[in-house]
């Protein structure tokens, strides 16, 4: 029994989304953390989640039948409660496999892109001229990756808002299914439906993609370094629009070298001197320190910062899980539900009225008499001693069900001792400790009831006196006085 003292503690939890918003509680994940933990936004022990656990949780929730959730003890936060449920439901290691696959894919991509970066650096080396085309180098090794980043951010911001983006989603879907197989459909749908998992997974992918981009810049840096170390190489630029390009390049160089121009003026190249004219024969060596520093400061470093930022965002997302998706709410309610007991079924004071030999009377007229005088609530009406065998059978079945008592209704003028005696024997045998009343009245032709004649009353009293030891109450119908 984990009921005590549920309410004051759990009420806030089950309801915490709205409450938190009103009260501006900083920690979204734990609604009942201690004051210190709450003020620092730090989840308590047992409330921290990892991406692998979150994936396992969503998968387990997808397979959950909706029953058998454990009852939570008081004071447990939603994050801790969900974790407890995950432990009970059992983890199948799918999350760990997902995370490992992601990390492996990230590492492979990082390696590939590092190689690509080195190749890019070497690709800008013009063998014929014997030098590196700096414009190409800057464009491909620095500018292009940033364009990809900006394009990605834009696509994310405008997702679902630009015509055709649905098509892109469909293409991504099809590709994912092709790569991951049809079996992954459930998992992909699950990730999509869970906003929080998508968010955490998104930050993990963002982190990995920044690692990959950093590797690309790193690869380009290594490529350039090896080129300078092992090869006699010059640096130049040339275009058909010399003046415009010279101005643009000068501005780009002065902007890119802003962080170190004061400290290392030797790492700021001369744009004019490195223009490749007809007489160009090598030179421009002051470019390589600039290019290496540019790759470091504008390539590798910001990407590493972004890796750190994405990592921090992922951690914060994991620490502030609210578990407010529809399935989460359903699970939470099933773990914290206060279950009201069932109401008593059926009337506990219900009595069966059995009309003997078709002694019919209006139920509406008889009911107040039964309620107010006999204090019995008529809930079933049957007939005994009639030609229709079905009625007899129904009456016998009903005898077993009447909870409070049985009323045998007989007509005052038709006392047939054998018949009545047999009926009474049958009823008292089945009644057990229930109350049995023999009600005597004379049904009128209009469906009402009349009191019995005095001589009839005497006959019935004599009949009952003869049944010694009987617990049956003999009651004569009395018309209500006006």
């Amino acid at each position: 029994m984990l009921f005590c003292p549920i309410p004051s503690v759990l009420r806030g939890c089950a309801f915490d989304h709205g409450v938190r918003r009103r009260e501006h509680v900083p920690d979204k994940g734990a609604c009942h953390v201690g004051k210190d933990a709450e003020s620092w936004g730090v989840p308590r022990k047992g409330e921290k989640w990892t991406l692998a656990e979150l994936i396992d949780f969503e998968m387990a929730l997808a397979a959950w039948s909706g029953k058998g959730a454990p009852r939570l003890s008081a004071g447990l936060s939603r994050a801790a409660g969900m974790k407890l449920w995950l432990e009970k439901a059992g983890r199948h290691g799918l999350g760990a496999r997902w995370v490992a696959s992601l990390s492996l894919a990230g590492a492979l991509l990082a390696l590939l892109f590092a190689g690509l970066g080195a190749t890019t650096a070497w690709g800008t080396f013009d063998r014929e001229a014997g030098g590196v085309h700096v414009i190409w180098f800057l464009a491909v090794a620095l500018f292009l990756p940033w364009c990809f980043l900006i394009g990605g951010v834009l696509a994310w911001l405008l997702r679902g808002r630009v015509a055709g983006s649905g098509l892109a989603g469909w293409v991504v879907d099809q590709l994912s299914l092709r790569l991951a197989g049809k079996k992954a459909r459930g998992a992909i749908d699950r990730v999509r439906a869970s906003g929080e998992l998508t968010k955490v997974l998104g930050w993990r992918i963002a982190r990995l993609s920044q690692w990959v981009a950093a590797s690309f810049h790193g690869g380009a840096l290594v490529g350039l370094g090896t080129m300078v170390l092992f090869k006699q190489v010059g640096f130049f630029w040339e275009t058909t629009t010399e003046k415009a390009m010279e101005g643009l390049l000068t501005k780009a160089v002065s902007f890119l070298s802003l962080p170190w121009s004061d400290l290392a003026p030797w790492a700021v190249p001369s744009v004019e001197a490195s223009r490749r004219g007809p007489q160009w024969d090598g030179g421009g060596e002051d470019w390589w320190p600039f290019l290496i520093l540019s790759l470091l400061v504008w390539g590798v470093l910001p990407r590493l910062l972004l890796v750190g930022w994405a990592m921090g965002k992922e951690r914060r997302a994991l620490a502030s899980l609210t578990f407010q998706a529809p399935d989460h709410r359903k699970l939470w309610r099933s773990m914290t539900v206060v279950k009201r007991g069932e109401e008593p079924t059926g009337p506990v004071d219900g009595a069966l009225v059995v009309a003997l030999e078709g002694a019919e009377a209006s139920k509406e007229i008889l009911r107040p008499f039964l309620l107010q005088v006999l204090r019995m609530n008529p809930t079933g009406w049957e007939r005994l001693g009639v030609l229709d065998a079905n009625h007899e059978e129904a009456a016998r079945k009903a005898l077993a069900k009447a909870q409070a008592g049985i009323v045998l209704l007989a007509e005052g003028w038709s006392l047939a001792p054998r018949s009545v005696g047999k009926a009474l024997d049958e009823i008292t045998a089945k009644a057990g400790e229930r109350r049995v009343v023999l009600l005597i009245g004379n049904p009128s032709s209009e469906g009402g009831m009349r009191e019995v004649e005095p001589d009839q009353r005497i006959q019935w009293e004599q009949f009952m006196d003869a049944r010694k030891g009987s617990e049956v109450e003999l009651v004569f119908y009395e018309e209500a006085s006006e």
């Binding site: 709410r329 206060v338 279950k339 004071d349 107010q372």
Partner: protein
């Protein structure tokens, strides 16, 4: 129920004059609208015996109420007890003797006193609109002699009059507390206050009564969340609802055939909408333990929402200015994302255009009657030749989601106002009610408008769904507090 008395469980017996509203008080307090369990009617003497009604939460009985037959001969019973007591002032011991010896003469009084003598507290129900007769004074005296904790409940059954003050003064001398509890209109707060009043008169079992109060409060929060889930589900399904069929290209060119198809699809659309609506109302009724009321939804005329009348569109949903503002904010937010995406190079044009577009559309389209959107599309091959699909729904008016929400909120209010002590099957008449959504703060309207837009497009925004859920919970709470 095998044992009518349970040691250690606080018990309260509801007593009073015949037809004073004892059963309806208990029905409302315990939310029982099943006439088989608690019979409520104008027939005096409906309650024939002492009926135990346990309050069970999480499979444990925390307290117990007893419904009892009313006092029928209080003056005579009082004299009999005084006779038993002799020269001394009557007390509990004399009542015991009365119960043991006078069951035949005073069956109802004996029955209702039995649980009191066992240790049950007393809830004495009176109609303060009736004059204070001697028979009532006798009832009050008999109950006072029991020495048990006593709470008097004023259950007015007609317009208040000067008798109430007389009642209060008299009851104040013999009862620990006097409270008003209208069994035909009492809402959750009044029920809670009544239970809290029991805490004041029965301190020995304070812990158990407190737990019941807390469990009821927690259960109430759960219900609010369940109701919000039902409404959220209804809104999502209703706003995403479409009916479609294929149309042959030859039929497409003939207006009469196209219109016939369109009319059939419109009818199907409103029929499906009515089913969704009925499903939602049924869920709300079940959550709040109402079994007697049938949801008033007619698929033919669609009376439930009355979407075909202009009055509905003027009365419910947002007014034109609110709709315009919500549309402008929602459009502006979408435009702002575009501005952000292009690095604010658009100088805020996206926000302005989005806000203008959303606002103008809402201003001009918000009040239009429910003409369903009709879309011809596809162009897929049919067996018999080339064909297109015709898709119908939802109504073009931007006020449509607001009217749906308003309709549900008004019904919710009706359900809350319906006491379980009522036994009529009258439905909620929300025709005279004013819009609830118009009272929403503008941030909530903007949030809901954005989510409605996503549902109307057929792809509900899962990211916003938890916020929308929280907003609905908040709205329901406001309705409860009204």
């Amino acid at each position: 129920m095998n044992e009518w008395w349970k040691e250690g469980v606080p018990a309260f017996v509801v007593v009073g004059r015949v037809n004073s509203g004892k059963s309806s008080t208990l029905a409302t307090l315990l939310e029982v609208d099943d006439d088989d369990v608690l019979r409520v009617s104008s027939t005096p003497g409906e309650t024939t015996g002492v009926l135990p009604l346990p309050v069970v939460f999480d499979d444990e009985e925390w307290m117990r109420f007893f419904d009892s037959p009313g006092f029928q001969q209080p003056v005579q019973a009082m004299r009999e007890i005084e006779r038993i007591a002799g020269n001394q002032a009557p007390g509990p011991e004399d009542l015991k003797v009365f119960v043991e010896e006078c069951a035949d003469q005073y069956p109802d009084e004996v029955r209702l006193l039995a649980p009191i003598l066992k240790g049950a507290g007393i809830l004495y129900v009176v109609d303060p609109c009736k004059p204070l007769r001697d028979s009532f004074l006798a009832e009050i005296e008999i109950l006072r002699w029991s020495g048990r904790p006593r709470l008097a409940l004023l259950n007015p059954q007609s317009e208040p009059n000067e008798n109430e003050e007389v009642w209060r003064n008299r009851l104040g001398t013999a009862f620990n507390l006097v409270r008003t509890f209208d069994a035909h209109s009492a809402k959750y707060d009044e029920r809670r206050r009544l239970l809290q009043a029991l805490l004041q008169i029965e301190e020995r079992h304070a812990d158990r009564i407190e737990r019941v109060v807390e469990a009821m409060a927690y259960e109430w929060d759960q219900r609010r969340e369940d109701a919000s889930e039902a409404m959220l589900d209804f809104l999502e399904k209703a706003l995403s609802l479409r009916t479609s069929d294929s149309i042959d290209e030859r039929d497409e060119g003939i207006p009469s055939r196209r219109e016939r198809k369109q009319a059939a699809l419109s009818e199907e659309y409103f029929s499906k909408l009515a089913k969704l609506e009925a499903g939602c109302v049924n869920k709300l009724l079940k959550v709040y333990r109402h079994h007697l009321i049938e949801p008033d939804v007619d698929p033919g005329k669609h009376r439930g929402l009355d979407l075909a009348t202009g009055e509905t569109w003027q009365k419910w949903g947002l007014n034109r200015m609110q709709l315009t503002t919500a549309g402008a904010f929602a459009g502006g937010a979408a435009g702002a994302i575009f501005d952000l995406g292009v690095g604010v190079h658009s100088l805020g044009a996206g926000t302005v255009i989005g806000a203008l577009g959303g606002g103008v559309a809402a201003f001009f389209k918000g009040g239009q009657l429910p003409e369903l959107k009709v879309k011809l599309g596809g162009g897929f091959k049919l067996k018999g030749g080339d064909g297109k699909s015709i898709v119908v729904g939802p109504p073009a008016s931007l006020n449509f989601p607001w009217i749906l929400l308003d309709s549900m909120l008004l019904r919710y209010r009706g359900i809350l106002q319906r006491a379980h002590g009522r036994r009529d099957a009258a439905n909620f008449d929300e025709s005279g009610d004013e819009s609830i959504v118009r009272q929403f703060p503008s941030e909530r309207r903007t949030l809901l408008q954005k989510w409605f837009n996503s549902c109307l497009k057929g792809s509900p925004d899962r990211g916003k769904e938890p916020d929308v859920f929280a907003a609905l919970v908040e709205s329901l709470k406001e309705i409860e507090d009204q």
